[in-house]
Amino acid sequence: GAGVSQSPRYKVAKRGQDVALRCDPISGHVSLFWYQQALGQGPEFLTYFQNEAQLDKSGLPSDRFFAERPEGSVSTLKIQRTQQEDSAVYLCASSPHGGQANTGELFFGEGSRLTVL
């Protein structure tokens, strides 16, 4: 399809396991964002890429969280040694514009719901 694709849609992990969440942005989109959305809350910014460069990772909650976009297209969010508080929906968004400020419309995927037992 033409939209942002995320996989897996649902992931259940045991506490302490590592997980990897994938995002396929819209082809040609320069900017890519990861957000974390806890139940009943708004999305919280995690990190931002412009092409392959990770320009802002200020929202990553701990050093257990790592994101990459090696070729400026597909991105992976990795969470090591998952904890129960990591349970959330992880949203990926892309934009054809460069730069975070005044980015205009962000196109969101449907998210990956992570449940840590």
Partner: protein
């Protein structure tokens, strides 16, 4: 700290009536605002945006009003339909996109 928030967490509206969803922001440097709609199990979907040099912008059945004096914006949905049921977020974008908690809009048939 700076925040974007909403006055009401839930709103129930009769089908066919107009809906008004409010949002307050605290960062006076914010110069760009966006409303998103999120249906259950889906990602947020862009509705409409407005820049700080405007006080009103209209789309299809939606209008966003911005009052910079009191740092308030609202989303008006005309002739609310069942398909409008969702959580609505305002977001402020000065350095990065910051979302509020959201308002759940429920349509009463």
């Amino acid at each position: 700290g700076e925040s974007v928030g909403l006055h009401l967490p839930t709103l129930s509206v009769q089908e066919g009536d107009n809906s008004i969803i409010n949002c307050a922001y605290s960062n006076s440097a914010s110069d760009y605002f966006i409303w998103y709609k999120q249906e259950s199990g889906k990602g947020p979907q862009f509705i409409i945006d407005i820049r700080s040099n405007m006080d009103k912008r209209q789309g299809q059945r939606v209008t966003v009003l911005l009052n910079k004096t009191v740092k308030h914006l609202s989303l008006q949905i005309a002739a609310t339909q069942p398909g409008d049921s969702a959580v609505y977020f305002c977001a402020e974008n000065s350095v990065k996109l910051t979302f509020g908690t959201g308002t759940r809009l429920t349509i009463i048939p």
